[in-house]
């Protein structure tokens, strides 16, 4: 599988990442060489193999539903680039 420059631009858009012209070129080259290496995986037949998401699998991790304190809002907003009256502010959306 080869990845085209257009696909790189599309993936960058999916990842919400502005890329420069130079980066698009570089990543197209580099992703292609990495994907070429990944082709090695097709050597193995995995039709009857179950996928593993976690090596040490836990199921249904539950806890009692207890009411506890929350972090004070000043602490939550302390790192915000732009906050006002208990809200995070962003530029216009629509």
């Amino acid at each position: 599988m080869k990845i085209s420059r257009k696909e790189v631009e599309h993936v960058a858009d999916l990842a919400r990442l502005n890329l420069t012209e130079q980066e698009i070129e570089l990543f197209t080259d580099q992703l292609n060489s990495i994907l070429e290496y990944f082709a090695k995986l097709q050597e193995i037949d995995t039709a009857n193999v179950e996928p593993t998401a976690h090596a040490v699998q836990l199921y249904n991790v539950l806890r009692e539903d207890q009411v506890t304190g929350s972090m004070e809002s000043e602490k939550v907003f302390a790192n915000a680039p732009w906050a006002e009256e208990g809200y995070f502010r962003v530029p216009k959306i629509v």
Binding site: M1, I3, E7, V8, V11, A12, L14, A15, R16, L17, N18, L19, T20, E23, F27, Q30, L31, S33, I34, Y37, F38, K40, L41, Q42, E43, I44, T46, V49, E50, P51, T52, A53, H54, A55, V56, L58, V61, R63, M71, K75, V76, A78, N79, A80, P81, W82, F88, V90, P91, K92, I93
Partner: protein, 488 residues
């Protein structure tokens, strides 16, 4: 010199016997930082004032006749992806350059509860992506054994700081070798614990199914002490395993008689440097002479671990790093509308390697490619895990070199794949979630070589036993970098 080279147990004894005060001890390490940092650059933040305040508190306790714990008053430093309340935590990224966490990671909390003195935060590859620490957005860390070489990565600062005696011990994180590889390159002891043995709460996520926190120390016994403190179930991390926590120091026994050690031939392939091979073969001979039974074995799917890892880890990274959008914390670029703000924030906030992995991961997870890449990689992961299960059913532990070569020269690795391949012996262990240790095993051209020991899930005790026996019968861990020999 004596104090900074002392083990945790020795430092504890000095504090208890009032041979040194905690303030004096802390100042000794701060002095080392002052002296060596221009040549090593392991730290991103030094917290001198809070360290000295904490030390004074402990001195007061000792003066008042209070009993202190084994880690109480011991100076420590943490990799900068471990959140510390009120202390800047950057992940060596512009994105978090001014981020001050409102809470402590569980491991930071546990070390604080144990009374350790925090000296500061350590350099790393940005968001733990890399194996040289050259991907730090701020500056590269240099290897204390040779300033023209890298310390390894991504926990390069954690390993270099211990080698340069700038902290009694440190914590790092390991996703594909990021504790073990720099430990090998810097001649120190590093452990990646079993997945789920140590809480990841408050540790900035890279690849959540692979990341683990672990100790970097001068000796095996120091390592067992620290892991005994930071391990254990944490309800705040849903992947944390509810297991019976142990005191790992009980396994520090100088005896490998009758232990079966498997040597997987795939870890000794053509990529292995011949001098490194000789060092590891000599180390195996020593273990054999001490009574271990050594046998070659084979793990047919190991060669597929690398490509599987470079699909799974970028996929998880692209998902985890989606949170850096300039809204609630971290860097924000100015833009007229929100989606453009997201895109520009990420364009300016992330460095090249992080962007590359986000791109790779987004592609592998994108519609039409998911089955060919991500699902395939998860299936390969099953096969790699099975290889380990079978080998570890037959042998108590497996042994390999930690890395195929000694530390690279700065800027040497320009080819991406050749850089990625440097982690070929450590990556499979993360895919299988197993514990592994890297211990100093000798030198090639004056640079340290690490030996990797691998055990079953939650068999850290056995790792420590084998590593301790090797260490007690060799002297490599007593060597110090030339940097430490001048002056004083």
């Amino acid at each position: 010199m004596k104090v900074i080279n002392s083990s945790i147990a020795e430092l504890h004894k000095m504090l208890v016997n009032k041979e040194i005060s905690c303030t004096e001890l802390t100042r000794e390490f701060l002095k080392q930082i002052d002296k060596n940092e221009p040549k090593v650059k392991a730290f991103l933040t030094v917290t001198e004032e809070t360290a000295l305040n904490k030390a004074a508190e402990i001195d007061k306790k000792i003066a008042g006749g209070g009993e202190i714990g084994l880690l109480e008053g011991i100076p420590v430093a943490l990799k900068d992806n471990i959140c510390t309340e009120g202390i800047r935590t950057t992940c060596a990224s512009r994105m978090l350059e001014n981020f001050i966490p409102p809470y402590d990671a569980t491991v930071a909390q546990k070390l604080a509860d144990a009374g350790t003195v925090l000296l500061g935060k350590l350099n790393m590859d940005e968001f733990a992506m890399g194996s040289t620490t050259e991907n730090s957005a701020f500056y590269p860390t240099l290897n204390p054994w040779d300033a023209t070489r890298v310390p390894g990565g991504s926990s390069g600062g954690s390993a270099a700081a211990v080698a340069a005696r700038e902290a009694a011990f440190t914590l790092g994180t390991d996703t594909g070798g990021s504790i073990r590889q720099p430990s090998a390159f810097c001649g120190v002891v590093g452990v990646k614990p079993t997945y789920g043995a140590v809480s990841r709460y408050g540790v900035v996520a890279f690849a959540s199914s692979l990341d683990q926190v672990g100790p970097v120390t001068k000796t095996v016994s120091d390592n067992a002490i620290v892991l005994s403190t930071i391990a254990g179930h944490d309800p705040k991390d849903s992947t944390s395993v509810p297991f019976v926590k142990e005191d790992y120091t009980q396994y520090l026994e100088n005896n490998v008689k009758g232990l079966k050690i498997g040597i997987p031939r795939e870890f000794f392939g053509k990529d292995l440097n011949s001098e490194v091979r000789k060092v590891i073969n000599d180390a195996l001979k020593i273990l054999e002479e001490l009574g271990a039974e050594i046998e070659e074995c084979t793990m047919p799917h190991i060669d597929y671990a690398m490509p599987a890892y470079y699909i799974i880890s970028p996929a998880e990274c692209s998902s985890n790093l989606a949170r850096f959008d300039g809204v609630s914390y971290g860097f924000r670029a100015e833009a007229d509308e929100t989606v453009e703000m997201f895109k520009q924030t990420r364009a300016l906030g992330f460095g090249p390697e992080v962007k590359r992995r986000i791109m790779l991961g987004t592609y592998a997870l994108s519609s039409g490619y998911y089955d060919a890449y991500y699902l395939k990689a998860q299936k390969i992961r099953t096969l790699v895990k099975k290889d380990f299960d079978e080998a570890l059913a037959k042998y108590d532990v497996l042994i390999s070199p930690t890395t195929p070569t000694i530390a690279y020269k700065l800027g040497e690795k320009t080819d991406l794949l050749s850089l990625y391949l440097g982690d070929v012996y450590t990556i499979p262990i993360n895919l299988a979630g197993l514990p592994a240790i890297s211990v100093p095993a000798g030198f090639v051209n004056g640079m340290p070589v690490g030996m990797q020991i691998i055990a079953k899930h939650f068999a850290e005790g056995l790792l420590y036993r084998v590593a301790y026996t090797y260490e007690q019968n060799t002297a490599h861990h007593k060597e110090v970098p030339a940097l430490l020999k001048g002056g004083e």
